[in-house]
Symmetry: C2
Subunit: 286 residues, 2 copies
């Protein structure tokens, strides 16, 4: 496995391989790799010839009030995981290499990014769309993998890939969970013991909603009230949003009469957790 720091060296590596017909797979990460990332690497390893992982804590997707400074960084452990999973290149650019003096271009995906995470974090998806566009330019992948946990991020990237004619195949892999159902996340490390005990409640609420919809509950308000009831039983949990949406546009559904994504975000102390589940593609035997 090789480590590449310079974007131009990364592009040169990719272009040389592409010319030989090699299929390049790419898993963009912010490092602090956990079992969720490992599952992406394993899925990717089976489906491409050369596998690139980027580890870059992207400053422009954090607001000044957010956790950029404290976001976990453990590069040597991350490299070990990459080596174990057969990664060919760890791409680790510096912020200065990605955003040199004079940098200014912004990529936005206004509709898909507007609600939910976009409301709480107004510049977040602009930062994500911009860095993803840059990383795709640098790495030139044929196939990329993202985790379903960041569902809205997946929708933003899917729209971006389509709108900007990237000709990249986007594969979204299911969320990997702890044994008690908590979605794996680099931010879980910041939970206190008591918060950690309560954290799986978000997934419990999402599952309850999924079950209710499966048995025929079609009014989003009723489903949301039910989820709210599950979560409000715990005073330490503050609900950020609970939503039932179209999986592509992320617009809330008036009636659950087709496949939907159930999105949730909560706060536990200073930690913000997000999670989601999809409903079945067809319902009620239709």
């Amino acid at each position: 496995m090789r480590t590449i720091h310079s974007p131009s060296a990364m592009t040169a590596w990719s272009q040389r391989l592409r010319r030989e017909g090699v299929v390049i797979g790419f898993v963009p990460t912010m490092g602090a790799l956990h079992e969720g990332h490992r599952a992406l690497l394993r899925a990717a390893r089976l489906k491409c010839d050369a596998l690139v992982v980027s580890m870059f804590v992207n400053p422009i997707q954090f607001a000044p009030t957010e956790d950029l400074a404290t976001y976990p960084r453990r590069l040597s452990q991350d490299r070990t995981i990459c080596r174990e999973e057969g990664v060919d290149v760890c791409f680790e650019p510096t912020p200065a290499a990605m955003y040199p003096k004079g940098f200014q271009t912004v990529v936005t995906v206004p509709s898909v990014a507007r609600r939910w995470e976009g409301e709480t974090r107004p510049h977040h998806f602009g930062g994500v769309a911009t860095v993803v566009t840059k990383l795709f330019g640098v790495v030139r992948p044929d196939v990329v993998w993202f985790g379903q946990k960041d569902f809205q991020q997946c929708a933003v990237v899917r729209q971006l890939v389509k709108d900007l004619n990237f000709n990249i195949r986007l594969i979204v892999r299911p969320t990997v969970r702890e044994r008690d159902g908590l979605a794996m996340s680099s931010r879980n490390a910041f939970l206190s013991t008591e918060e950690r005990r309560l954290a799986p409640m978000l997934y419990q609420a999402l599952l309850a909603a999924q079950r209710a919809i499966k048995t025929g509950m079609a009014d989003p308000k009723t489903v949301q009230a039910m989820m709210r009831k599950v979560l409000e039983a715990q005073p330490a949990i503050r609900i950020d949003y609970l939503a039932i949406c179209d999986p592509d546009t992320l617009e809330p559904l008036d009636r659950i009469d087709r496949q939907a994504v159930i999105l949730g975000a909560i706060r536990l102390g200073s930690v913000r957790l997000i999670d989601n589940v999809l409903t079945r593609r067809t319902r009620g035997g239709t």
Copy 2:
């Protein structure tokens, strides 16, 4: 020469050639090709293996009040010029293929695009940056050619190419002019005989400024006043802006102590004309 309408067919064509090590050159146009375009095609033809020209009147770079509907379209004549100049592919996508239902991504280059054309046409460069990003995604060129006449557009694209890691070489070719100095432009066809007679005054004013700077005039205000005087002698000419700027950032200079670009925009009746000249790279023997 072949004509390709579908973006995905265009990408497939390019990717096949790239894999064989072919250097792909690209000249993006809005059609209505004139001698300025022809000069770009000739320069391009000498420096690449395969030459692609796009002809696409990009709706999103026109404001509702602007001349999208009347912008000259003469595709069969354009194809003849391309054939004469040895173009390999005319890429002619439809607006619906470029902007299908649900399209929403926007690329902006805020600082370089802010002033001058950006002030008069607030959405123009957003539309330009977005379509250029898309066209680069579709065509995957190694080298692209633009004309210096649209100087700020060149600066926007140069910043975009750098910021989004396109790894494309951008070549800007000098403005091609009529015998009386008027910069070639598809919009010149809309000038009345009398307006056409006055139109070269813009270039005259720019040349006067260039000469004054060469002889040591270093205060932009004095130079601008001189240009204004040249143009205000003709009551039919309305000045939009006259500016002396840094050629990369397009910020106005306080003092002309390094290379500068002199930009001008005027209106003659309903037609808006732009032009520019560069000052020498070094001045006064330094």
